[in-house]
Subunit: 343 residues, 2 copies
DNA sequence: GGCAATATTTTACGCGCGTAAAGAATATGA
DNA sequence: TCATATTCTTTACGCGCGTAAAATATTGCC
């Protein structure tokens, strides 16, 4: 805001009348200097627009203020949403979030961790791809940098894991579906990449058996993260070519359900609750778009505010304590039933 | 991968038998050293896993290899998709992309630029919020850091702009809609935040008049980026309470159309092309979810591969040439008609 | 007003690397 | 083979800041 451009802290010391070491203290923690000097510094900052060179700072600090945040796929609004929530919490804690997406690829996931390593993050929040993850390399990274997993668990990797209680949530919706109509079949990928998908499958089977129904899995071909596409393509196949044992389909996730709903529509199959409908479809996750499907999708919402909050909390305390956690913590949060038009 | 951990380039010089200045040359450009020494260095890298400290490097280089990438809203899969494409191109060029989302907020947009400033990016690719952007502050930033705009234009800000030719694309779809059925009304926000929305409105009016039809705007209330929500809420209102002059609605963007389709479905209004349908709906953008709406959404796709490619190309040449462009370039790319089931 | 406690200044070094200059080594070509 | 052009090594300095230690200044308190 004023005449001579200030190039470094020395220069700012000159114009502010405060010594450089004291300024350094101030920038690391404004509360650590006397109130009167703090005011002098802040008054000078108003006029002179100086900020410490972040590279010089990070070169000398023992720890950076960076926290890495890696999600499997930012193109999925579900993860974009979580990422946004987490970023907000990190900023509020005075740290600097760095968001990276693995774009569904294991190699990219490792690349992301590698590039995080070079910025020396104080900690990392990682939502791994799951089965596709190159576990050895992820584990190696987590051995060097305090890492907390969320969304998808990799056994024994990282200091903690926060995710959804698939057992509870699948139970919830299977129970609801059975109470309100015919028991559901389970629509999923044959070879799911995500551990949550596997847990949901076994949870489905257990829930059905508990209620005295025969579980029925519909496992379709499909790779990658284009779930809507798979749900649409394979959904069309099973809806037209295959005789379903019931009129109710529970999908392993909402994105599959979105594709399936679209396939049902295209094939003139009416989905919903009223008498004229011949099919019920439910999902899992409460994807941002699930409110706008036709009909709107009945599903289970994940408590991702809680997951985000606990994840950030944990990585921060890990950073604070400067050492690793004594025992790896795994916490699962309960889902909530979201009743809409499709089931 | 070997015994004594290497802490700096000095240490790596010791184990590799190459002097530090030469190593420095190598890391800045492997091709700049003789082949035989390059091989020696790379052999040593295989065994010793050393990488230059990025903070020390950036402190001393005149320019970093960072390129900022700011999008208005990562929760929108459209921007997530563009961002991914652009990131890929930046990496391929040997630079380091830094992705930030403004989350629909002008203050966040400025915060993003501020935090980019502190990492001293060589250049920035910015998709601004549009009307909501705090133009003065964006302009001030663009005055300090080479900046290229895309998606939404801010007059005179940045070295160049790449976006869609809304005039052409709206013409295209209005033309198609008129040829294939009744001329469309235009469904949009009363006070759009995005300059593209304004251009689309005037393009719609011009296209209609050119074809000898009376333009008809339906402008609904609504703020923010939750377009589906607005499309759904206001769509339900106009579909039930208002007599439309035609059976065809062109939406200002796909996300509004997705909400509107959902509203039509909820109200038992059949959308599509066949005789039994009473409404046609079209959108604009070819949003990733538009293929899976019910019915699938007829729309215009933006050529965002071209936008991404030219944007990256431009910022790179700007960085290379170390100075600003002589004349601000504005390039618009044509859209393609995507015919699906809804219109 | 004087003392102890606390805060600031002064001085100095180190972080890891870019880079310039001069001399030594190596490659190139006729 | 030798002269020449490249490339590398050695030496040295600087980047902007963290931080330690000792000296000095300021504050709070009785």
């Amino acid at each position: 805001m004023s005449d001579p451009k200030i190039r470094n802290m020395e220069g700012f010391a000159a114009v502010s009348g405060i010594s450089r070491p004291t300024l350094s203290k101030y920038f690391n923690d404004p509360e650590s200097v006397r109130k009167s000097t703090r005011e002098k510094i802040e008054a000078a900052l108003e006029k002179h627009d100086y900020r410490p060179n972040i590279y010089a700072v990070n070169q000398n600090r023992r720890q950076t203020k960076n926290i890495g945040l890696v999600v499997p796929n930012l193109t999925d609004p579900f993860f974009a949403g979580i990422a946004r929530t987490i970023e907000g919490l990190i900023v509020k804690a005075g740290f600097n979030p760095l968001l990276l997406s693995s774009h569904g690829g294991p190699a990219q996931e490792i690349t992301n961790l590698e590039s995080l390593r070079s910025i020396k993050p104080a900690g990392v929040l990682l939502a791994p791809l799951g089965r596709a993850s190159l576990e050895d390399q992820v584990a190696a990274f987590a051995g060097e940098v305090p890492t907390v997993l969320f969304d998808a668990n990799l056994e024994g990797i990282g200091e903690a894991f926060f995710g959804s209680d698939n057992n509870q949530s699948i139970n919830l919706i299977v129970d609801y579906l059975c109470r309100s109509g015919e028991p559901p079949v389970f629509f999923e990928l044959k070879t799911p990449i995500n551990p949550n998908a596997c847990k949901r499958r076994t949870a489905y089977i257990a829930a059905m058996e508990k209620l005295g129904h025969e579980p029925h899995l519909i496992q379709v071909e499909g790779q990658g993260w284009n779930f809507e596409e798979i749900g649409f393509r394979e959904g069309a196949r099973i809806l037209t070519k295959q005789k379903l044992p019931t009129n109710t389909i529970l999908c392993s996730n909402d994105r599959l359900a979105i594709g399936l709903l679209s396939a049902a529509f295209e094939n003139g199959i009416k989905v919903g609750l009223d008498a004229s409908a011949s099919l019920r479809i439910a999902g899992h996750d409460d994807h941002p778009f699930s409110r706008f499907t036709c009909p709107s999708l009945t599903t289970v919402s994940q408590d991702y505010d809680a997951i985000a909050a606990r994840g950030v909390e944990t990585i921060l305390s890990l950073i604070e304590s400067e050492n690793r956690i004594e025992r790896r913590e795994e916490t699962l949060f309960e889902g909530k039933l979201v009743m809409r038009g499709s089931a």
